[in-house]
Symmetry: C2
Subunit: 234 residues, 2 copies
């Protein structure tokens, strides 16, 4: 039996659904029949306080809620944990501190995928929300690998943020337009590849939709989680 | 806060994802911001024994597994329970017997939706898997409302079943062809509307894809679950 993947989700709910869909696609390569597919236990909890406001110091922290969800998923039978939301990784310590289960870190897994899949890339575009930027999630992880982040200006990021909110509200077309503009600004600034460093981005931009490759952090996490789940079963 | 929806899922995993997506769409009408969306706790457990084999007496029962999942979802904080798989409702008593939480019954909710949304319909086409037919899930629920089920012949249902397996294996195009053929056979036999009485059907056939309306049992359950969740919050 593959290991059970516990999912700290709901940030937002559409990103959690997208993650589950990508897990299913990767798991189908391991499964001859439905019964061999991986089990997921998912807490899709949109009520968690907004991560951007918490990181900016203008709202309550999601850390206590994340710790409670972590304990709930462990009790429910999860063998490993993932959190398909980039900005929430500013609070990854709250998850790690609440459990002895392995936690696959979305940011680390995504940067590792950039290094392995795009070894020639040096200038790494990052589309991430205000909170993730303020917490330097990708900036620090890229610097540790001697890679240079290419990020939007504050004005450009305001347009990007508006696109993310549109997607969270279900307005995918309006969101896609704003996110593509932000991505093209990074390409103009010399990005060799772009990390979709917000789980709303891959909801509207595919890996081959732009002039450079777009690295889907949701898909990287799904791929690693499935590999981990079936590796333990082998 | 809306009530927490607990989902007995994984039968199959794609149907669970489809259900979550439909819950999200209905919940967006109730929520001005992400934090107001409904929380779901989902156990997507594809390892449950095959329902068709169990109903036919040729395989183990999923009932003990469903009861264990039910207790797990109650412990994790669910306020109401749903099971987005039609055939699994042959084992609904195992869920109901394991909890004091309300359980929204997919078959009953779907037939109630047919009565309210299509009051003139008399001959109700049903696309359901072998197990659901053998357990007379829709046949009995329709008869209780004085409605006549229109069902495939055994030979036609063999083609339908093959389509369902293709979808579960991720081969959506091949599955769609087989399911559309089965649906058209019901229309030729005089069905006024067709119940998509298997959660794989709406993955490939939309409500307006055929000459008669297709009633999406997954969407009916999502609609009712969301109404129940927000009604309790009012």
């Amino acid at each position: 039996m593959p290991k059970v993947i516990g999912v700290l989700g709901g940030m937002g709910p559409a990103a959690t659904i997208d993650f589950m869909d990508k897990v299913l696609r990767h798991a189908q390569a391991h499964a001859a029949r439905e019964q061999d597919l991986v089990r997921l236990i998912v807490d899709s909890n949109p009520a968690l306080p907004d991560r951007n406001a918490a990181i900016a110091g203008t709202g309550p922290s999601p850390a206590p809620g994340l710790a409670a969800m972590t304990r709930g998923l462990e009790t429910a039978g999860a063998d490993l944990l993932v959190m398909p939301c980039n900005a929430a990784h500013a609070f990854a310590d709250a998850v790690i501190g609440a459990t002895r289960l392995p936690f696959l870190h979305l940011i680390e897994e995504t940067v590792a995928a950039v290094v392995s899949d795009y070894p020639a890339a040096r200038r790494i575009g990052v589309l991430a929300v205000n909170g993730a930027v303020q917490a330097r999630l990708y900036e620090d992880a890229l610097a540790a690998r001697d890679l240079a982040p290419v990020t939007p200006s504050d004005a450009e990021r305001a347009g990007f943020m508006e696109g993310v909110w549109q997607i969270k509200a279900g307005n995918l077309d309006a969101g896609r337009l704003l996110l593509c503009t932000a991505a093209e600004q990074l390409i103009a600034r010399g990005a060799d590849v772009i990390i979709a460093g917000c789980t709303e981005v891959p909801l509207v931009i595919g890996p081959d939709d732009l002039a450079v490759s777009v690295i889907d952090s949701t898909d990287m996490l799904a791929r690693r989680a499935v590999a981990h789940a079936y590796d333990a079963a082998a």
